[in-house]
């Protein structure tokens, strides 16, 4: 196989260009949302209607929360990112034709103002406003959603994530086992578009909330492959009502924190190719002190209303061959276990292979191989890509079109490659 090694000088040049590009843009947070770092955080959200797009070319009518800076309804609702111990005031203005509210499972609502009493919490009537005050919020990953007729309103999109940052930077919780280099949101949800079609045609009375049968499945409010497109703030402005993407990236031996939420009505087995992940917390609660209390799993069970925090790392250790393609005399990275060992099998000629778009043409990280014209192309740095997806495989489709739905591709890039989404 003819291969092309990245030359160090080229890598440095690429890194410099990337740095210049990055410094010219606002900082890219790995988990995007409305970030507050003050002891008191004030959010103004508006419940309103709009449409989202699905990757098969469809559009779905939604109800959702709009942040007041853009005024655009979004699915899921804005991710509220606040510091541990903060007081959080969330003011909800209702532009829908039905009452609406917000519940915050796992946090204490110390006061409400301006609403009318509802079954689960204070509600905003159409045209009115309600304010919720959360006091002394505790760290972790939490969900929020409408507590008013939630079987319909959550399906319609009135749901989002609340992230409370630990006082210890770089950790999800006040425990060293939750330290991470990169963090990503995995907000799993699904939609039965028949329900949305009834609502938009004013036939809400005909909705039967007990026989929902989803036909679209979402990660962070998008269906694949839109999930891998740039987020709104990164330039993906053609999806204004779906601002969040999910494109996890890392280097070998780094750690990704997965913030997983079940934002719909169904459960999803979320399988992360590449390695196990250590579930360290559920529902914003540590499973116990230290890594030994976590659960090392290759599939995370994501159930409605439930959150999981899990840490994922990948070193490529003990593969039995050198995944950098080093010769025995080359310098080695400290974590290598099979330095200089060749791949023990012959990879067939590409004429015998169907080439995936993320296949670099070589088994080695950072080393691109020959590819036939018109193939590959989504992996310019020759990283190792892994599908992270619902293992209820029917959920990686968009209304019967495969592939799509609840899937993204995580990439482990060569240590010399600068991650574009740090």
């Amino acid at each position: 196989m003819k291969t092309t090694k990245f030359r160090q000088s080229r890598m440095i040049l690429a890194a410099m260009i990337a740095f210049l590009l990055l410094s010219a843009m606002p900082a890219l947070a790995a988990v995007e949302g409305l970030v507050c770092s003050a002891p008191t955080c004030n959010y103004d959200l508006t419940a309103k209607t709009d449409y989202i797009s699905t990757a098969d070319g469809g559009s779905v009518f939604m109800w959702g929360f709009a942040p007041n800076d853009t005024g655009i309804m979004q699915y899921p609702g804005p991710t509220l990112i606040v510091p541990e111990g903060a007081t959080v005031n969330v003011t909800l203005t209702n532009e829908l034709s039905v009452p609406v509210s917000i519940v915050f499972p796992g946090q204490t609502v110390s006061a409400t103002a301006g609403g009318v009493p509802g079954l689960l919490t204070s509600e905003a009537m159409p045209g009115a406003t309600v304010t919720y005050t959360l006091s002394n919020v505790t760290p972790g990953t939490f969900i929020y959603y409408s507590g008013t007729n939630p079987s319909l309103e959550v399906e319609m999109g009135l749901v989002g994530a609340l992230i409370v940052r630990s006082a210890t930077a770089g950790q999800a919780y006040d425990d060293a086992a939750t330290a991470f280099d990169h963090e990503y949101l995995f907000f799993l949800s699904e939609v039965d578009s028949r329900i949305h079609d009834l609502v938009v045609r004013g036939k809400m009375d005909e909705v039967n909330n007990t026989d929902a049968r989803p036909n679209y499945w979402f990660l962070n409010g998008r269906t694949a492959p839109d999930i891998m497109a740039p987020s709104y703030s990164q330039g993906g402005t053609w999806l204004p009502t779906q601002p969040y993407n999910c494109m996890p990236m890392m280097h070998p031996t780094e750690t990704i924190l997965l913030r997983l939420l079940g934002g719909g009505r169904a459960s999803h087995p979320f399988h992360h190719h590449g390695n196990h992940a250590l579930a360290v917390a559920r529902e914003g609660r540590l499973l116990g002190a230290g890594a030994a209390q976590g659960e090392l799993l290759f599939t995370q069970t994501v159930t409605p209303g439930k959150t999981t925090d899990a840490t994922f790392t990948w070193s490529g250790e003990n593969l039995g061959w050198d995944y950098f393609g080093h010769a025995p005399g080359d310098p080695a990275y400290p974590w290598e276990t099979d330095h200089g060992v060749p791949v023990p099998v012959q990879i067939p000629d590409y004429k015998d292979l169907t080439i995936g778009p993320f296949w670099s043409g070589s088994p080695f990280m950072g080393v691109a191989g020959d590819l036939p014209p018109g193939t590959g192309g989504f992996n310019p740095n020759a990283g190792f890509f892994y599908m992270w997806h619902s293992h209820a495989e029917i959920e990686i489709t968009n209304f019967d079109i495969f592939p799509g739905g609840m899937l993204t591709m995580m990439v482990v890039e060569h240590p010399d490659v600068m991650l574009m989404n740090p």
Binding site: H271, Q293, F298, T301, P348, A392, E393, I394, F402
Partner: protein, 291 residues
């Protein structure tokens, strides 16, 4: 030769793969095409589900790797390092290829004889059985065979199975031959043991639609492993709950004097899955025969 042997020789579930910790494992996949659907030129792959620190080249996921075309052979290489209960399947167009049958049991025995995991005495056993939850919708297969649009969202698995068989075929120890006289279902799910023995069930799910609870009537279940790792905190239960792509190791300790020789049942408590399509008293159920 491989082409002659392989064509129309599909087995459901696929042959059980058992490797031992420390082995070099080479798996050659030859794509012999699909005689019944000559219009299809699909590549295929093997995904060792849950393999730790996987490299994309041998992961079998078709977007991130290269998959083998008709008439060619791809050899996967795995160094068997971390023992446990895994599973394998074709990852090409997984919502189609998996329920169409391209899946099977895969587990790695530990270097400690008769223990699922090293340094974990709770996982030691006398007899072990791989049990894989699978299921399919016959309407989907009919659509596939007759070249119709595939109804993914409407998939409704009315043939729920263990190891590719519905009860009572699960307890038939013989190979099951199809209407063309070919071996079609090789993997029974019958569990036999002598009273007093520890039975290890290596349970995995490759359902493409649903979560399942499996229960054992009359023998306590002790969950000692999950997703190919020994549990730090094993626990007793009467059921295990698995989504597609999850596995669990369960010990059935039959040494309790109250457990008498006889037949016990392992079955799904999603009761609608106790049928073979329209036929009742079937589906995802098998027997544990204690001598």
């Amino acid at each position: 030769m491989v082409m002659d042997e392989g064509m129309l020789a599909h087995e459901f579930s696929a042959p059980t793969i058992k490797v031992k910790e420390g082995q070099d494992f080479y798996l050659s996949l030859t794509n012999v095409g699909m005689v019944i659907r000559p219009d299809l030129f699909d590549p295929h792959s093997v995904h060792w589900h849950g393999f730790p620190n996987a490299a994309s080249v041998f992961d079998g996921e078709p977007m991130a790797s290269a998959t083998v075309n008709m008439g060619a052979t791809f050899t996967y290489y795995y160094k068997a390092v971390i023992p446990g209960s895994y599973m394998y399947h074709c990852h090409v167009e997984a919502p189609e290829h998996m329920p169409m049958g391209m899946l099977g049991n895969l587990y790695m025995e530990s270097a400690t004889p008769n223990c699922a995991y090293n340094g974990a005495p709770e996982t030691c056993f006398d007899v072990e059985y791989p049990i894989e939850i699978v299921a399919f919708d016959p309407r989907f297969h009919e659509a596939d065979e007759t070249i119709q649009p595939l109804p993914f969202a409407a998939m409704n698995d009315t043939y729920p199975m263990l190891n590719g068989r519905g009860y009572p075929d699960t307890v038939n120890p013989a190979d099951i031959i199809n209407k063309d006289g070919k071996l079609a279902q090789r993997v029974p799910a019958l569990i036999t043991a002598t009273r007093g023995q520890r039975i290890l069930l290596r349970i995995s799910s490759l359902s493409t639609t649903s979560f399942h609870s499996l229960t054992v009537l009359g023998i306590p279940m002790r969950v000692v492993g999950k997703d190919a790792r020994a549990l730090n905190f094993p626990y007793n239960t009467n059921s295990v709950f698995l989504g597609g792509g999850e596995s669990a190791d369960v010990i059935l300790d039959t040494s309790d004097p109250n457990i008498l020789p006889g037949t016990y049942f392992l079955y799904v408590t999603n009761m609608e899955h106790l049928n073979n399509n329209a036929e009742e008293y079937g589906g995802m159920m098998t027997e544990i025969r204690l001598n």
